[in-house]
């Protein structure tokens, strides 16, 4: 049986990766907006993002809007590839090659 990437294979991190995958290539989203779209607590989201960041699946950039710091998040190239591989493996496991 194909092995599913353990970094992605957790409910919260899969939801984060799935949400980020809907952004265009090189697109990113602010932390509060992602939190709103996922309906997750800031702490929970932060914890799982750190694990994805450690695996270099997520690019995190800091910006400023006026004096307010904003954290933007997006899938890295490695993360996008890992997510596509994860989906492919899931489909294979489920016997659905599409």
């Amino acid at each position: 049986m194909d092995e599913l990437d353990p970094v992605i294979h957790a409910q919260a991190r899969l939801r984060i990766m799935a949400a980020l995958s809907t952004l265009g290539a090189d697109g990113s989203i602010s932390f509060p907006r992602l939190q709103e779209l996922l309906d997750m607590t800031a702490g929970n989201l932060s914890t799982h993002l750190r694990k994805l960041e450690d695996a270099a699946y997520v690019d995190i950039t800091k910006a400023h809007k006026g004096r307010t710091p904003i954290t933007y998040l997006g899938l890295s190239k490695k993360g996008r590839r890992a997510f596509e591989d994860y989906m492919e493996t899931l489909r294979t496991v489920l016997g659905d090659p599409k």
């Binding site: 957790a10 409910q11 809907t22 932060s46 997006g74 899931l90």
Partner: protein, 235 residues
């Protein structure tokens, strides 16, 4: 993350541990698809509102222009008709801009996407201004008021239709291409009607067309939301 000021709360830690669990592959696949659908629904929830607002704006706006000379024994004063027309379009335009801004908050595209957005956004007022200036030029060259009554509405609706088609092509939204094609056809056909029936045709065809688009996009969103909520395990 800087934005998470309370990431070490015990309740969050417990929730994070729980969310660390994996379900069976089929459930994980459904979770993945439902999450993508949920984002898609949340990002698209403005479409029915915008198309509905434009449907009402076309109906009221062109309807009021038709009422100037369209009904025997009744004439809506021109200043009132023009005010209703302008107000309807400004309100629909303002609502579209606000909803577009609200939906795009917190999002950052790459440089290419930002360039496309800026060019497309500014093309609306550049094109509208050009149509207005061209109309003034044609009037100065001898275009009659009768012809101007056809030129302005048909040119603006034609331009709006082309912009919808371009938007659909850029952002790959079929509904936008269909709405744009409909407006292009409506603008062209409207010029074949006599005055002031062409206003009535524009009001009904463009207005009802956009209200129909609003209804179908609302139904589509409802279907996506249901699927996102887990109504469809495999998608």
């Amino acid at each position: 993350m800087d934005d998470s000021r309370s990431h070490d709360r015990p309740t969050d830690a417990a929730a994070a541990d729980q969310a660390d669990d994996a379900l069976d592959p089929a459930a994980m696949y459904a979770l993945l698809q439902n999450q993508q659908r949920s984002v898609q629904a949340q990002m698209g929830d403005f479409v029915p509102l915008i198309s509905g607002a434009w449907g009402v704006a076309w109906l009221l706006g062109f309807g009021s222009l038709w009422l100037i000379d369209g009904v025997e024994g009744f004439s809506l004063p021109v200043p009132i008709a023009v005010t209703v027309f302008v107000a309807a379009l400004v309100l629909a335009g303002g609502l579209s801009a606000w909803l577009g801004f609200r939906t795009g908050r917190g999002m950052r595209g790459n440089t290419g996407a930002a360039f496309t957005g800026i060019v497309f956004g500014n093309l609306w007022w550049v094109g509208s201004a050009a149509i207005g200036i061209l109309g003034s030029g044609l009037r100065a060259q001898g275009m009659t008021e009768q012809l101007a009554n056809f030129y302005y509405p048909c040119a603006y609706v034609l331009f709006a239709g082309i912009m919808y088609i371009v938007a659909g092509a850029i952002w790959r939204t079929v509904s936008s291409v269909i709405a744009g094609l409909w407006l292009v056809i409506v603008a062209a056909v409207a010029s074949l009607f006599p005055y002031p029936q062409h206003y009535l045709f524009l009001a009904l065809a463009a207005g009802i067309g956009f209200l129909a688009l609003s209804l179908t996009s609302a139904l589509r969103l409802r279907r996506i939301r249901r699927a996102a909520a887990g109504g469809d395990r495999r998608g």
